[in-house]
Amino acid sequence: MSGRGGAGRTTFLGMPATAPPGVGNLRGTEPFPAAARRALGDAQLRRNLRHATGTIRAKSAAVIDEVPDWPQLRAAGRAIKADTMARLPELLEQLEAAVTAAGGTVHWATDAVEANRIVTELVQATGADRVMKVKSMATQEIGLNEALEAAGIEPVETDLAELIVQLGDDRPSHILVPAIHRNRAEIREIFLRAMPGVDPALTDEPAVLAAAARRHLRETFLATRVAVSGANFAVAETGTLAVVESEGNGRMCLTLPETLITVMGIEKVIPRWADLGVFLQLLPRASTGERMNPYTSLWTGVTPGDGPQQVHLVLLDNGRSAVLADEVGRQALHCIRCSACLNVCPVYERTGGHAYGSVYPGPIGAVLSPQLTGVADNASLPYASSLCGACYDACPVMIDIPSILVHLRAQAPHPRTEAAAMAAAAYTMDHPALYAAAQRAAGLGRLAGRALPPPLNGWTASRDMPAAPPQTFRQWWAEHRSGS
């Protein structure tokens, strides 16, 4: 893959390029095994994760069970995404034309640095010194908050989990629920410590904590003139953007300010209006385990007299062109960020999201982050998996994550790590029975899907079996624990 290295930058300006280092949150500060080892030592973290992912798996299975054509919906989702990637340049041009015709302004950002500059300048042009944000993976990826703060602009996260992370001076650990590693008692502590004017009699009842967040953010919603959002989908044929959410903070940010700036990875475009019918059925059931999330907002440019009158869309590459260039790895761009693969992953459940370093944790992070940065910069992530196949079975758009992991392992130089860290972590990894089961299954040609509980097991029937991995997680671990 080209595009890495300073010397090539000018020559290869129009060639696929990975995300630049030194900006944003795609690279961890230490390799996965070292970070995982520390996480494995945190019993509270593991309890929180086990409880949360168990809850969501059960809810999701129940509502997926209600949909008789779920396999066909998944196949349709995969086909639409493959078609999108095959026509990505044309669809983006079509999207740009439609958004522009509806009164919006489209900006193109080659990487995180460009995107941060574009957004900062747009905010500065309004004269505002504060923006409110509705959760967006893309803006976390590029480190927008840090860039805004450096320019003297205060970003306020309005999603409850993001608020918990921001007030706790913490990092997100899950795509959907960034504070999944915190339980209610810890959240209460954070609110008592960092939320101005909070009621000192605050209890740890989830409803009470949610009400505290409502009071805390009300004034922000009413008084902030600029909002920054992400987008779950963008319809090329109509120029329509979609935000799927639960709390109503998205509606506030999309409706009340004068200026709305949406930052979106280029892979989020979908061809047709009718395609929303597939994804709006797949996403909530796979994601929060609901038939439909409480709120979905769709908007097309500017509506006179209703909502923001200045509407911007920033289209972000930041390594995606490099992912698209990889014939095996490009499926990672199909991801609709539902987080189902995290919730079923035995490695994620034990290590949590922080161990992955990048804002994209779990199985999708293990295949997306190394491709966005170039494998050398995230070399241990392709090994952060037991290849049990649960992620593939759970994925609503049928991304074959195990095959991409195997493909990336072939490119990844085995990272050097400290023997002691490996030994300690491997000991813990060795004990949960699920690991052993998953690894045995992997050795048998990855039939692990059969061992999953219904309805996950039904999904494995027709999937392609990737070639046996050259090296399993445990073999790799065993080799490296000795410091070789």
Partner: protein, 208 residues
């Protein structure tokens, strides 16, 4: 090269080697023998799913809307109510202070107790009410800031599933899909009702 030219050139280069194979999507993902809009089964399903997600459903005869709306507002103790300009006059509650929205500032809307709107489409399978900012629904802000939302739905607006709803909607209007009151799953992944949007959603479902 501009950013636009660079990104597009990169993507074309990325696809030049081997464009992705596009799998056949298979049979159209939907032939469930679903009922036509307004079918009694769909109304029952909508009511059930709304209730499941903690919305309150009131099923009334077409002529009983005003009485139902007034009853909901009274029971909630709502004294100030905003309505969109195009709301049918006979639905307007009498015993409370009614403001017809003419671009009220957000700070004013936030101090009102309730909003009464119509809907554009409802989805039975998912328990979803869809507003399209039509004259009887109003600007998005009016159904967002008051804490109680009363929404009147007619049978012919109720379709089976999401694809049928999209076919009836047009992208040139801002759309708000509402499935129950504001909620969060951010604390231990348990659903809790009541964050930033209206904490109470009452749906008045008529029989014609």
């Amino acid at each position: 090269m501009t950013g636009r030219e660079v990104v597009l050139a990169r993507l074309r280069a990325a696809l030049a080697g081997a464009p992705p194979a596009v799998p056949e999507p298979g049979p159209a993902p939907r032939d469930r023998g679903d009922r036509p809009p307004g079918h009694p089964d769909l109304l029952d399903r909508l009511a059930g799913r709304l209730t499941d997600y903690r919305a309150e459903v009131h099923r009334v005869a077409g002529a009983g809307v005003a009485e139902a709306v007034a009853g909901i507002l009274a029971a909630a103790g709502a004294r100030t109510v905003v309505v969109p300009a195009g709301l049918p006059a006979q639905w307007r509650p009498g015993a409370v202070e009614v403001l017809v929205d003419d671009g009220l500032p957000a700070t004013r809307l936030a101090r009102l107790d309730a909003v009464v709107t119509a809907a554009a489409v409802a989805v039975a399978e998912t328990g979803t009410i869809i507003l399209d900012a039509g004259a009887d629904q109003g600007r998005r802000a009016i159904s967002l800031l008051p804490d109680l939302h009363v929404c009147v739905v007619h049978p012919e607006q109720v379709v089976a599933g999401v694809p049928e709803a999209l076919a009836r909607l047009t992208p040139d209007r801002p759309l708000t899909w509402i499935s129950g009151p504001s909620a969060t799953s951010d604390i231990e992944l348990n659903r809790v009702e009541g964050v930033h949007g209206p904490r109470r959603l009452h749906v008045v479902l008529t029989d014609g």
